[in-house]
Structures are given as C-alpha cells and as structure tokens.
C-alpha cells in the first residue's frame, strides 16, 4: 500500500469511528443509478440476492461475470459475481481475491457485506485506486455459500444460533431417525426463544439486577427456575428437546485440510467436501488457480481471524515472515475495524479441523482471513461491571429501545404444562440489526479491498540484452505479499514462478545477487527459468536468461500462479 493510501485509510477510519456514517457506495453518476435500489437496510433472501446480482450484472455487463459455482443440496444456485475492469489483462492471467459469506446459515450478514463490496467496487470503479486494482486483479464475490440454511433462518422460526449447518439429513442423536426433533415455535411469534419452568427445586433464580436474567441459586437459597433449553417439544419422545434439528454437517469443518472425522470434530461430515455446497465451492476455486487472497465473513464477536486453525503457529511451524504478513494486513484492517480483535484461530479462539481458510492457506498457499462480524462494543461490558449478559441487555435498552429481548411470558407446553418462554430475538446480539448494517458492511468491505491491494502486483521493471545470448530481467512485485509464501515454499503447494521468452526457450538461467561472489544457478525446465521462491513482496528479483544468440527474444514473459502473467519488451 502506498503512503497516501494508508493515510487515506487512517483518515477514513477516524471519520467512521467518530460517527455512524452512511455508506459511501452512493451513485453520483448516471450509470450508477441502476444500483440505487440496492440498499443495505434489509437482509436479502435467495431471490433477493439473485435479483441484486442480476441487477449489477445488467448494469455493468463489461465489468462483471455472474455464474453459479454449483447448486446447494436443495437446488439453490451458489452465485459468484466476478468484478473486474476489462481494460486489464485477460481474467485468467490476473490475481484474484475470493470473498464469500454466510457459510453458516444463521450468520447472514456476511452475504450483505459481500454484496456491499460488489456495489462499492462498481460504484467506485473510476476512482484511481479502485480502478488500478480492478485493472490488475479481479474479485470473485460469493455472497452466500449456504443458501438453504439462510433461507430457513430468514423465513422460519429459529434463534440466532441456528440453523448453522447445511441440510444433509443427519441422525444427531443416533436413534435411527434423521432431523426428527428440531425447535418448535410454541407461542407462534416466529422466534425460537428459551424455555424455563417454575421449580422450587430448580438451580436458577431471578437476577436481582435485571429480572430478565437468571443466576444460579446460592447455598441455602430456594430455587425458582429450571432452564429447559430452547423453545420446543420432545418430538421423538426420547426425553430430550430439540436434539436433532435439520442438517448435520458444518460447512466450515468439511474442508480437506487437517480434516478429522466426526468423533474428533463435531460436524465434520462423512468425508471432506461431502456436501454439494463445499464441494462446488472447492471445485470452483481449484478451477481458478490465480486466487491469491481469500476472505470469508462469519459472525459474531468482532474478530479478524487467521489460520492455522488446527495448530498453533509453533506446532504448524509457521514462518516468521508469513506471520508478519498476516499481522500487517490485519493491522491495516484493524484501523478500519475498531473494536475487532486480531486472533490466530487455534490460539485465540478454538481448535478447528477442516476449516475453510485452513484449506485455502494450508493446501493452496493463499493468505486468508475470516472476519467474525458484529458484536456489542466492549465499553458496554465495562459499564456493566464486566457482565456480558447484563451489558447486552443494557445495550438492547438503549440501541434497540428494548425490542431485542422478549420478556419471559407463560406458554402452555403439551408435555411440561405451563412454562415460560423468553429471550433474544434474531437481529440483535449475533445478527446485526438492519439499522447497523450499512456501517458494518462498509468497514469490512474496505478491509477486504485493503487485503486485495496486498496481492502480488508483478511487473517487468527491465529486460535488457547484456551480451549475445544473455538477457537480464528484473521482475518486481509492487505489493505487500510475495508470489510464494514461506509456507507455500516449505509445503510445496505452489509451482515455481517461471520466466521465459516468447517464441523460444531459455537454456540456462542465473540469479544475480548483489554482494554474492557468483551468480546463483536457477533451474530451467521446459524452456523456462523456475523461481522456486517466487518474487518477494515489495521487492524484485533479477535473473540472467541464457538463450540462443541467433534468436534473441523481443518479449519476456513471467508466469506466476498467484502473481499472474506479465510481459515486458526486451531492450537491446
């Protein structure tokens, strides 16, 4: 990133943190008017997402490609919109940023962030920074990779925490029946809340600080309540409530890197990529090998997460150089996302086997992040004396005017008799309330653009004939990230970058290293010099190509898996 760009980001972050500003993805040009109707004061369902994407495609046919990566188990398309400036090199020759959302069905706001990012890029396509990025790179934007569960979350009674998984029929309680005991909306209010029953032997009492809360009873104290878990019935008569809801595979535990079976990793699925959603996404990503940056949006807790997810950095032997690059991108992101904590998944959050970004980094060698969207700012907790439950209620009273928490009320339960139902609605503490959505979308979209700007940016700085049959080439990388990370190099997950000539073969090559007593031999295969270490970020590599003196080349070509394909003329 350039210094002016960084300063601009800092200024923007300061502006954003000062007040909740409206999204700057606004139309000031006649050609942007078709996007005016795309607002982020709502959650789009499957049809809504398809309509938004189609609107963008129709408005900017030259800047977009809309396709489906595949279909979900229930047949919904897995849309991906590619945004780019056609004035740049062919799409297949550019680095690309893959961004997805809504991996877990209930974590819906990720889709809105991805849609917002698409709109932002299109609306700002003529701004110099965005234009340059869209000309040298592309964005693959998949707003929702779990559309079946999103649709349930938006249209059926659920709490904020489900449905998380993809809807493979699954026998959670191993009773020979599948998905037979999910939640039930006892009072018909469209929400799944919590249940409690009055019980003098119960282990809970009403919290004196706020009667919406319960606390454990103290020794010698008489009980008041017994918690019965989520609102629901014992549909299958096994004595348990809501223990076998729809679905059973966690789409963020189903990826083929550090995968572990069900007995070790809950939600793993029968085998890696067993689900149509994950398999289609993985297959699509593998067919787009220039993806050089990955961002996935989840909720909640305001976190910027990075791999490894199944091992600590030490266990994974993550190189210091790679960690420094993760840290730098997250540092820049942190400026745009005040309140977000930057964590290594295994060390800072929890152990994840078969996670998506562990695959994209571990198996594909691509710097990847997961953002956990939304959360109540820590200042509320501080004000509540460190009690998060109380802080959430206080926030609810001020920010939502109390509407987020349904007060306990009596409901007739067919099995338990009279119970009380109450608790958090959706779009409160885990799902962003829609009034707060535009600000969240803008900040996270900018974070992703910042990450994308760090993808390798290759150019041939010079290519000069220094002797008959010898061309000296300097390849520079003007962005933060190297074409091949230390991880990719040590785990052999990326092919070497190749430097060749058009219309002929390189027969030998040597790296020119300042201060070294002699040039370093560079292997040549199939007529191309192979740079196993790639081109460093914010740096360059100079090599001498030895060619047939009788057929001196006029064009040098660099082919890098993550850096793309660039060409340069040879000066004589």
């Amino acid at each position: 990133v350039t210094r002016p760009r960084l300063l601009a980001a800092l200024a923007l972050a300061a502006l954003l943190s000062a007040e909740a500003s409206p999204p700057s993805a606004s139309a000031d040009d006649a050609s942007d008017r078709p996007l005016l109707g795309i607002t982020f004061d709502r959650y789009y369902d499957a049809k809504g997402i398809a309509d938004v994407l189609e609107t963008m495609r129709r408005a900017f046919p030259g800047f977009t490609r809309l396709e489906s990566m595949g279909t979900s188990r229930e047949g919904r398309p897995l849309w991906v919109l590619t945004v780019f400036d056609p004035a740049g090199p062919p799409l297949e020759d550019r680095p690309a940023m893959y961004v997805d959302g809504n991996t877990h069905g209930n974590e819906v706001q990720g889709a809105e962030v991805v849609l917002f990012l698409a709109k932002y890029l299109l609306v700002h396509r003529d701004e110099p920074f965005v234009r340059a990025l869209l000309r040298r790179a592309a964005f693959h934007l998949a707003p929702c990779v779990n559309p079946d569960s999103r649709e349930r979350f938006l249209h059926e009674p659920y709490d904020e925490h489900s449905p998380r998984r993809v809807p493979r029929p699954f026998d959670d309680d191993r009773d020979g029946l599948v998905d037979e005991d999910g939640p039930n909306d006892l009072d018909g209010d469209g929400e799944i809340l919590s249940m409690r029953i009055a019980d003098p032997e119960g282990d809970q009492v009403t919290d004196e600080r706020d009667d919406r809360l319960m606390r454990p009873r103290k020794p010698g104290e008489k009980g008041q309540w017994r918690s019965l878990g989520d609102e629901g019935l014992d549909d299958d008569g096994d004595g348990l409530v809501d223990e076998d809801e729809v679905g059973g595979v966690d789409p963020n535990r189903n990826w083929p890197y550090e995968w572990r079976p069900e007995q070790e990793q809950n939600g793993a699925g029968p085998f890696p990529l067993s689900e149509p959603e994950t398999r289609a996404t993985a297959t699509w990503i593998l067919r787009h090998p220039r993806i050089a940056g990955v961002q996935s949006f989840h909720n909640a807790g305001q976190m910027i997460l990075r791999p490894p997810a199944a091992r600590t950095d030490r266990e994974a032997e993550l190189a210091h150089a790679d960690r420094a690059l993760f840290d730098e991108i997250a540092r820049r992101g942190g400026l745009l996302l005040p309140g977000y904590r930057y964590l290594q998944i295994r060390e800072g959050l929890y152990l994840v086997h078969g996670g998506f970004v562990d695959w994209t980094f571990g198996a594909l060698g691509v710097f990847s992040f997961t953002n956990e969207l939304w959360g109540i700012d820590g200042s509320w907790t501080t004000a509540a004396g460190g009690d998060q439950a109380l802080a959430a209620l206080k926030w609810n009273d001020v920010a939502l005017h109390g509407a987020g928490f349904v007060r306990w009320h009596a409901v007739k339960h067919p099995t338990f008799g009279e119970v009380q139902v109450g608790g958090w609605r959706r779009r409160t503490i885990r799902t962003t309330p829609t009034d707060f959505l535009p600000d969240l979308c803008l900040r996270n979209a900018l974070f992703t653009i910042e990450h994308a700007s760090c993808m390798p940016d290759l150019a041939i700085r010079s290519a000069t004939v220094v002797a008959p049959g010898r061309v000296r080439v300097t390849v520079e990388n003007r962005a933060l990230l190297p074409t091949i990370s230390a991880w990719a190099r040590s785990h052999d997950v990326l092919p070497p970058d190749e430097v060749g000539i058009e219309g002929g073969d390189v027969v030998a090559a040597a790296r020119v290293v300042l201060g070294a007593s002699s040039p370093e031999t560079v292997p040549v295969k199939a007529g191309r010099a192979r740079l196993a270490d790639g081109v460093p970020g914010s740096g360059s590599t100079t090599i001498d190509l030895y060619v047939d003196p009788a057929a001196m080349p006029s064009v040098v070509v660099v082919r890098s898996r993550l850096g793309g394909v660039v060409r340069g003329s040879v000066a004589r």
């Binding site: 191993r174 020979g176 079976p261 085998f271 890696p272 990529l273 198996a363 295969k525």
Partner: protein, 546 residues
Amino acid sequence: MRARLLVIAAALLGTGAQAGAAPEAEPEVRYVGPDEVKAALEALAGPRARLATYGKSAGGRDLLALHVGSADRPQVLVIGGVGDRDAAGTAAALDFARRVVAPPTAGKGDPLERVGFVVVPAPNPDALAGFLEGKAFRRGGGDVDRDRDGKAGEDGPDDLDGDGEILWMRRRSPTGPMTVDDAPPAADGKRRGDPRLLKDGGVDVRRAASYERVVREGHDDDGDGDVDEDPPGTDVARDFLGDWTEHGAWPGDGPFPGSSPEASALMELSYDLESLVAWYEMTSEGPRLERASEHGKDADADDALYGALVASWRDACGLETRKASERPGLVATPSSTLDWAATHLGVVAVRVPVWRIEKEAANGRERQDADELDWLLWNDRVLGGKGFVPWREVRHPQWGTVDVGGWRRFTRFEPPADLLPAAVRRVSALPLVHVGFAPRLDVLVETTALGGGLFRVRARASNVGGGPTETALAVKSRRAMEVRLAFAAASGAEVVAGPKSARAGVLAAGAVSEPVDWTVRGAGSLGTVTARHRIAGTASKEARVP
C-alpha cells in the same frame, strides 16, 4: 459359536458344500464392459432386485447398484474393484449378483430372509471400458494436474513401439539401483532367478549392467523432462477417505479424497446405507483375501470378529486372509477403500482377489506365496511364454535406447479369458458367508403383577444373529446406535411409569441387554415392546397379564 454359524451358512448355501460350489445352472462368466454390465443388471432387476443409479462417472456413465432383497435387513455391499484393471473383479461381482438374485432351489434357505445385498459390479466403469478396449492407458475420475504445470493429465503412458500394448520400460543407467535377477539354478536344478526380472542391487558402478526402476512405457509428452508424471484420470483406488492422521495436503491421488465422482459417489452410497454391515470388494489379483487394516491399526479393534470370519471365509473358498497392511511391498496409503469402510463406516471390510496361481515346483526360492519367478515359470509352462513380452530395445525420443517388455493383459494381473470362469466361481459366492454374521433382534418380556391392577413389564433386547449389532470401530466413529427399547400401551392400558424410549446398548452376538421396566395398568393385553436397531432391524413382543 463358530459351529452354529457354519450350520446356518450350510443351511443357506446348500448341504455343507463350499460357498463356491456351482449352482445347478452355471451362468456364463466372461469379461464384460460397462454396457454389458448394465444390460445384465437390467435383466436381473425384478421381484427380488431393484436397479438404481447412484451417480455418474467422470465419463458420464451411470454408476449402477443392484439392491437385492429387503432394505430392512442388514445390508452387505459387494463391489467390483475400483482400480485401473479390475475387470475380473467386475466379472466376480456380477456373478455374485446372478447367484443371489436367482430364487433358492428346493431344500435351500434363502439368504434374503436374513440380509439384503447391494451389488455394484462396475464402480469405475470408465477404467473398465478403457482396460478392455486396450487402446491406451485410461482410468476413471477427472484429470489431475500433478506436476502443477497448468495442464491436467497431459503426460501419461504411451505405446512407444506401436504394438498396441502399454507395457513396461527399463532404462540402463550406471547409477541405477536395479540389476538383472539372474541367480544360477540351485544344485537340484530348481530356478532361483530369471534374466527377465530385475532385483534391487543398490548402486554399484562396477556392475556390468545397472537399471533404473521399471516404469510404464511412455515418453515425455509435455516436454518438462519427466516421463509419465501426469497420467490422465485419477487413481480411483487411492481416492477414498481412509485413515486421516497425516498433516497437510491429501497424499492420495487427486486434490482431495473423493475428488473423483466414482469415489465420492461410492462413499456417499455406502455412507447412506445406515444398515450396512459388511463391504466385500472383488479385485482382480492377489494370493490371499485382505481385510482392513490397510493403514494404521484401527481395524485391529475388531480382531475377534475378524477371527471368526477368517475361519468361515477359509471354509468357503479355501483361501487364507491377511491384513492389508501385511501385503509385501505395501506403500502405505491412507486412501484405501478398506479403511474407508472399516474406519469411517465401522463395517467389516475385505478384499477378495479373483486371480492367483499356485507356487511352481521348479521355483527354488523360499517364499510364502507365488512370487514373480513363479509367475514367469507359469507363463512359460502354461502360456508357452506368450504372456510376458521379452525385453527388447526401443528408441525412446528423450532417453535414447530403452528396453520395453513385460506382462501383457490377461496374464499376470487378471486371468486369461479361458481361466476366468473357474477363478471367479471359486470366490464369487463368498459374501454369502455374511448371512451367518448379521445381527438380528429378539425381545424377552416378563410381566409381574404388582397388585392394585398394576403390572411390571420387564423387557430385554437380545441379539440372536451371528454378529454384533455394532463393531468396535463403529462405536469409536460415533456411527454406532444403541439398541432402543420402547413400549406402546394397548388400548385400555396405561403406562404409569417408564421411559418412552430406552437405550439397551450395543449387543454382541448372543448377548442380552440389561432390563428396562414399565409399570402398566391394564387387563389382558398390556401393550407391545419393540426393540429397534439400525442394522439388526426391529422385533416386537406383546406383554400380557400373566
């Protein structure tokens, strides 16, 4: 227990005959391609069998499964081999399908009363077609970019000499580790080596002739200096999810386990068979049956069950069994079919080879099973030497002069067509053995008067089948289900106390569960106790006032 199992098996299979004994009218056994397999399965569909498609191959062929008998019984999966050249396995699985679909003859039991079978003769139909056509090296699955040059499957084996066969290639090199295996005959004249064979001799530059390791016939198609490093298709046999303990990227073939549609569809089919109890895989060649474990030792947890099975398999076909991990020269792969079945599905898994030869009397080597010298001697004696193409010099475009030669098709790795029927019939009925190892439930009910019109109904589930309701690995993999006991009150009766549904545990063959009690008010019929299990099915018994 074994004696009882053998009695059951004998009753189902005939009058004490081996499982491989020929039925009255022997169906034709020959090599068949995917189209003929499809036609044969369509012909077998009817009152006893249902044909279903469970996916499509990479080449667009239907993946077909014949479901024989009731889906409510424990299911035994019988597949042809998934490898590149398992045509004999396909013939054996198809022969099994014909046997089990045929109505039982008088005096013999019907195995379908105890189990159901799911028969997949051609799980990798593209490879089967390619092998039988013999035109080129062809496999199932999609092409893979193993050398990561942006091109997938662009450098496979080639027919260098235009003889219509992809054979083997050996290349002389002063630093090669291989030398000609030409040990002189023993004093009694028995052979101890053969110049057609190579043996590992370590690098020795003083040796007259040294060779690199034998590789497939082919050249450097993509000009990267390597030969045959990126063959078309996927090695489907190395594309399953086996033992997953390694760190890092998938070490099988393809970018991830199940990357080929053939492997993922078969994993999906078998995973969805909740009542699956065993996996029998018919493969082309091998000296013994092979049971899981292929990699790791997970399946050792079920050694006791395998011990009984091995004895029954030996009785049925005369072959010994070894663990797959005991195969000589095994390159450990965590991607095998057997480990998928045993470790992840928790079922008995065994590989049944169709083709083998006996040890040759003229072979003077110490060995347990037939070795490469036996095969050459057999080739010379039975095939007149025509099965093995002698090494001959061929001009190689990149390597100069190389030797090309080796085994033709239908010799070493699958039987000649005229020997196929006997080889198939020896093993094709083996899965019927599992009829004697499937679990089956019964319910034991005692009713006791408590006074005041109340009765205690005490029920136990029992396993009267020949195998456990769950293997140890099924328990470990969380696929296991405890037997459930439930009570439904009769009309006019009332349950005063007792669970709606109770867990009765995992039951070994012959085992009885702990009791479950209900207190019931009623008269005459009190209700019905039902035991239920995903594999062992259901059993019910009425509880009556004593």
